[in-house]
Subunit: 144 residues, 2 copies
DNA sequence: ACAACTAGTAGACCTTGTCTAGTACCAATT
DNA sequence: AATTGGTACTAGACAAGGTCTACTAGTTGT
């Protein structure tokens, strides 16, 4: 589960859950960002580990199954390319790297994320207005 | 389809789609906001119509099936209550209104949305950094 | 020998949103 | 009188994305 709020206790988690859990569909840009930030190709396993420390996951390791599935889909879409790394010792592993298409997709994601931010901001404003609340200027978000 | 980007032409839509389409899981707060903003109970049909003009949908009417399903689920969770309105003439319709629980859930959503915003902002920053791009200060979002 | 870590796969499941389609009733047009 | 279009809601199937359990298989450290 995406723990955007980075809840510290069960109670908080439950609250978050009731709110609709959290964002989805952002593992793609997360993966693209991780790969873009890396000098060399990365194994799926490493991507999972680094993803845990991306803004999307508050230190919680995401489910590997989902990430591997996403990686596969992204490769099929041409955003990533991979090579099998079969060392003499150790298990076979796949090393992923960004393609040109992946890089330009990430570039577009940056604008898209700005849109998402704006949209969420507007929704937040409307919600506050509807409740007759002054928009809390300081987001009460412990994690950030 | 959530059209956060409010794309004006097929081309733009396609680009958006490649980016992962758009946010999900935000129909709950959208519905809560619409009901909170209304003086009187609203019919599902009207909620669908108003949702079209919420930030989440760029004027595009959302799929009614999904909204009705969400309304039902929210009622089961105690966030909404509804009464059947069976006028002498015209079809039976269900009128929804916020419960206390729904109101306080919306109140918590406001903080949660702030978290989402912050998270997306951080992801956007990291993506820009990874690509060695200066963060475009003006989000290129036509709709906003 | 055992546990823990690295690396990946398989299959079922749930939620959320989409698509097609249908019912039923009303008002206004043709 | 028949058709169109709007109101109001329902049903069923589907797909994408994320979750959960569980498994293989090699490596490293105790």
């Amino acid at each position: 589960m995406w723990s955007v709020c980075n809840p510290r206790n069960e109670e908080e988690l439950k609250e978050c859950a009731q709110l609709g859990k959290s964002l989805s569909r952002l593992s793609q840009p997360t993966i693209l960002t991780i790969l873009a930030a890396s000098e060399e190709p990365l194994h799926g396993y490493v991507i999972v580990q680094r993803a845990a420390f991306s803004p999307m996951f508050g230190g919680n390791k995401p489910d590997p199954t989902g990430i591997y599935r996403t990686l596969k889909a992204m490769e099929e879409q041409g955003l990533l390319s991979s090579v099998w790394d079969t060392p003499k010792s150790g298990p076979a592993k796949r090393a992923f790297s960004l393609t040109k298409a992946g890089e330009s997709t990430l570039r577009r994601w940056i604008d898209s994320l700005a849109c998402y931010q704006a949209t969420i901001g507007e929704l937040r404003e409307e919600a506050s207005q509807a409740l007759g609340i002054d928009l809390p200027p300081t987001p009460l978000c412990s994690a950030h």
